[in-house]
Symmetry: C2
Subunit: 340 residues, 2 copies
């Protein structure tokens, strides 16, 4: 039932040459007579022969696969970066293998088992900063690795593409302070989390720096952290906005969380931006739809750039490792204004 696949030896026999010659003919080796090549190619075409990929891979040691490791595929910011990766890779000869990480265990597994020469030729890691323990795993991996939206100071041999989240957090907060706000809340992800997500933590750091620089006292009741997502952000916002002295502005560590804040405001009958200013982070599509003021990151671009660096390194392994900080840009829309 399953028709036997044609092998290089079949072609060789029919063309009256040796398998080695067929291989050379196919791979445009200069070590083959043009006439012979033509004869071989004729047979190849006639039988519709395509070399077995796995055999090629075993023989050459190249997999022609790249892997991308992403955490929760669910977050729109992650998907957006992935789009950049996929679309840049579309025209290359590499296949892209996706590894989704949904719990810390998987993560350790991935770092251990994926970056191996026999599995892939290169790896992209999105939004997962390696821990100190993981550094050696990555530093000594057998294949080139590029970190996107992730970094570790010790990994000087890897390409790293990041944004300056501390500066971003500071800029957002300074903008709110500039509008006249002094009671500014922050809602983000847990600073300590099993995935070592650093962006929320860094943005919070920038937030505190800006407050301090402006001589505004940091108030713990204006700071909330919890699981990523709308629901938790909404709950936190409600808690914060029903304090005796509520904040007049809330800075959310992501657009998704900002949406939760907007929902809370609506629920409490607070007008945005008259009663409450809200700022997000990322500028995913929903931010534009809702008219959310936010800090734009070049998400798609980060994926694109990561692939470029990876391909370049695959071509020339001596490529100098790059540490690139992508710019951010505050996009002011309709959810921010002066305090009431």
């Amino acid at each position: 039932m399953v028709k036997k696949a044609i092998t290089i030896r079949d072609i060789a026999k029919i063309a009256g040459v040796s398998p080695g010659t067929v291989s050379r003919a196919i791979n445009n080796s200069p070590l083959v007579n043009p006439e012979t090549r033509q004869k071989v190619m004729q047979v190849v075409k006639a039988l519709n022969y395509v070399p077995n990929r796995m055999a090629q891979r075993l023989a050459t040691g190249k997999t022609l696969n790249l892997a991308v490791i992403v955490p929760f595929f669910t977050a729109p910011s992650v998907t957006e970066r992935l789009k950049g990766v996929v679309s840049t890779l579309a025209r290359s000869r590499y296949d892209l293998i996706i590894h989704n990480i949904e719990d810390p265990e998987q993560r350790a597994d991935c770092f251990r088992t994926i970056p191996r020469q026999d599995r892939v030729d290169g790896v992209l890691v999105i939004s997962i900063s390696p821990t100190d323990e993981e550094v050696p795993l990555l530093a000594e991996a057998g294949v080139p690795i590029v970190l996107i939206d992730a970094h570790h100071p010790a990994l000087t041999t890897l390409h790293q593409i990041t944004v300056d989240d501390v500066a971003g957090g500071r800029a957002v907060t300074e903008y709110l302070i500039g509008l006249g706000h002094t009671r500014i809340g922050f809602i983000g992800d847990p600073a300590n989390n099993p995935f070592n997500f650093t962006s929320s933590r860094d943005r919070a750091r920038g937030y505190r720096q800006a407050l301090e620089a402006a001589g505004i006292l940091y108030r713990p009741e204006y700071y909330a952290e919890g699981p990523h997502g709308r629901r938790y952000a909404r709950e936190s916002a409600i808690k914060m906005l029903t304090l005796p002295e509520r904040p007049t502005a809330i800075f959310a560590a992501s657009d998704v969380q900002a949406v939760g804040v907007l929902e809370a405001a609506r629920e409490l009958g607070l007008r945005v931006p008259q009663d409450l200013s809200v700022v997000g982070y990322d500028d995913v599509e929903i931010a534009e739809i809702l008219g959310l003021t936010t800090m734009r990151q070049r998400l798609f671009e980060s994926g694109r750039r990561g692939v470029e660096l990876l391909l370049k390194t695959l071509e020339d392994p001596e490529t100098e490792p790059v540490y690139e900080v992508l710019p951010t840009e505050l996009v002011i829309r309709d959810t921010t204004g002066p305090p009431p």
Copy 2:
């Protein structure tokens, strides 16, 4: 510099057995003495040995790869289905290769080159219904294929998971008619498109059926089709809503397009739902956020189910092909009401 990888023969030598025995020990073959296995496994662990995947693949003829072919990764409904796929596959031993299709040429290429035994063990196709010419390619492919949100009557040997878009379109329209609307617009994708996307076309068909059944005349000026996306939908809606006799309700073929309609309404100063009712399709996250009435599809579920069927077929190739129609459900939120 590159440290030579450990092979099964190294392990064999150190453990004092033959490579064959090591292979059996690793693969839990019953043909190996428990003591021997333990001895071997000790060495394996000590040297941190992991079998070379490519060699395994070549030897077994299994690639341990599955491919998923998706069109524009950009559409949220596609991403949602993909999430179902990725998350269901997470715990399996298969790797997932993503093929993004952005133009018709790539598409033909994919159908021709991907479903080969030496590349993958199985294929998922999302939202791309094969054309008549492509049917033989898929029917005679060397590996099992599952169509998700896609179908073709001639492909009786493949699993197919679809929704009844005609019925869905009809249901939405009937709902609007039930509210009292008679001037109902439709905005969707081109019925004839190079990708053979069928969902918008089918929903439009249901829309016309419902109108006809209710004795409402179909008006061409109430029907618009164009490139998927908010922008075009917004423009079409504006055109439609500035007609001398404007529709009192608009049915958009997707939530993304419904958002465009909402933007148009806002721009024109029309209140939703008092002046205009809007219904979307899919129930992606943004629909919930915006309170959009929409026809819910189990997007995530469709991906999950597709993977289940594929895995089952890989385990038992004799599995009967399934043609499954997933249910839809009208979710009524805040964008629909009686006509003004």
